[in-house]
Amino acid sequence: MSFFSIKVIWIKELKAYFNSPIAYIITALFLALSGLSFALSITGRFPEASMRGFLFGPIGPIGAFFLIVLIAPALTMRLFAEEQKLGTLELLLTAPLRDIEIVLGKFFAALSLLTVMFGLTLYFPLLLYWFGDPDLLPILTGYLGLFLMGAMGISVGLFSSSLTSNQIVSAVLATATLLLLWLSNVTSTLGDGELPWASLVRFLAMSEHVRDMAYGVLDSRDIVYFISLTAFFLFLTVRAVETRRWK
């Protein structure tokens, strides 16, 4: 695997994001919604100098974590679907590049855009320090959680995109998958939590793994969960691209 080859794809995709309105629209949407949840959380009746409102949202679940469920598919939907539609996938697959280099280049492009979006929210903690006395640790682990869940969201989105040449199908499939992974913990309360698969299904829920991080608890299980599922979906993507060669 060569970093140079990954970088070629990475840069091309980053340029493509900023050549179309999509990056700007999604960034604006993300900043507006997460800013709203931050503002609501620090102006309520019992304001608190923490990022939990921003991360989980004061109204329902609409915080930064949940927004990843909506944003990641929007960022990844065109990455492979469009190449298939334009026929340019044939160009990439006959270039002297390995399939995994193509997949990783696209993955890093989407992840770096997402990281920039998270970076643009760093003025929230600065405001907290300005007006209050927040704990540093939950802020750090909160951002780590955003990054890890973002990476996983993108790997799921990338996989959906590699399965189809239709961007809409790709986005819907990724959103549905991420939504299930976000909500699957609620099923564990069915039948008083006595169902046989309850604990596994609960373990698969992304929302369970970011909750602790929002409180400043860093558990290796959470980190392993995100890294291994991200790797798993990237692996599936490479295999899906490979099967494109057989069609």
């Binding site: 334009l86 026929g87 340019t88 044939e90 160009l91 006959t94 270039a95 002297p96 390995r98 057989w246």
Partner: protein, 315 residues
């Protein structure tokens, strides 16, 4: 150099190509000819490393396409059937990306972009969005992309399809000028194109190679038949009747091309009938305007090779 050895590709139980073997020497332009669905694109996709062969392999510029896929792919310039272009890039941006994809260094990319833009006559449009270009220009961008890294082998899938006649001529000239430096394989179902630009022709039908030779040899090899073409002024029906009676003549067909009576006479190659035919025309007092021999046209050969079974069944 390209050396294909027993390439076979199955899609499920259906063989797209079977035991395709051929060799192309350095600098040779090979025409890959066949009806739609004959397996041209499949063969090219295997050579370029897009799709793996079920069995068999090929050597591209010294690299095995299976065990040294990356190096082999790096030695090929490829223009797929649907020209793969990013419509939201300018021609220059696109070529820059392709250069990086092919692992060229920056300085080299810059000089080569100017070269290929020149060669493919894209100067006017180098900074235009690809999405705004006409089909012919897109095709040229596709060719520019394929030759950018000066690959020893070029694979062009239907390079002149769907573009207007004048651009077809220009595109053919570009391709012809590429032979010599590159080994070129191009597929087409336009027959005259092959005799115009190719050194050798390879005819494929139903996934198998049915003929492979120099364009001019193919006709003589097939030939228990040669053709004599005559332009004669006079009563067409009578002329036809007289010619038909000459021994050695197998078939006479007459066309009225703009006031000229043209007769195409298929005859036994063993004897040269030109003297006899000339004598007869003069004897009858007709005006002989032209007489020449001609091999079978590529169309004839092609049809004979690819439709033999059907005609057998009809007979």
């Amino acid at each position: 150099m390209i050396e294909a050895k027993n390439l076979t590709k199955f899609y499920g139980d259906y063989p797209a190509i079977e035991n395709v073997s051929f060799t192309a020497q350095d600098g040779e332009v090979i025409g890959f000819l066949g009806p739609n669905g004959a397996g041209k694109t499949t063969t090219m996709r295997i050579l370029t490393g897009f799709t793996p062969a079920t069995s068999g392999t090929a050597i591209i510029a010294g690299y095995d396409i299976q065990s040294e896929s990356i190096q082999a792919r790096g030695s090929i310039g490829y223009l797929p059937e649907t020209v793969p272009l990013y419509t939201d890039m300018t021609v220059r941006e696109y070529l820059k990306f392709m250069g990086a994809l092919k692992k060229m260094d920056r300085a080299k990319i810059r000089t080569r972009i100017n070269d290929v833009v020149d060669l493919c006559r894209l100067e006017e449009y180098a900074d235009s969005m690809i999405g705004k270009l006409s089909k012919g220009y897109r095709q040229r961008v596709g060719i520019a992309q394929a030759i950018l890294h000066e690959p020893p082998v070029l694979v062009l899938d239907e390079p002149t399809i769907g573009i207007d006649p004048r651009q077809v001529v220009e595109t053919r000239q570009i391709i012809k000028s590429l032979g010599g430096e590159h080994t070129v394989i191009l597929s087409t179902h336009i027959l005259p194109e092959v005799s115009m630009i190719c050194d050798r022709v390879l005819i494929i039908d139903e996934g198998q190679i049915v003929a492979m030779d120099k364009t001019e040899n193919l006709s003589s090899k097939l030939g228990d038949i040669t053709q004599i073409i005559m332009n004669v002024q006079g009563p067409a029906e009578e002329i036809t009747r007289v010619i038909e009676q000459v021994s050695g003549v197998k078939r006479v067909s007459h066309t009225d091309a703009g006031g000229h009576n043209q007769f195409i006479i298929e005859c036994d190659p063993a004897e040269d009938l030109r003297t006899e035919l000339t004598r007869l025309t003069v004897e009858h007092g007709w005006g002989l305007q032209e007489i020449r021999t001609g091999g079978l046209s590529l169309e004839d050969i092609f049809l004979r090779l690819t439709t033999s079974e059907e005609t057998d069944e009809l007979n």
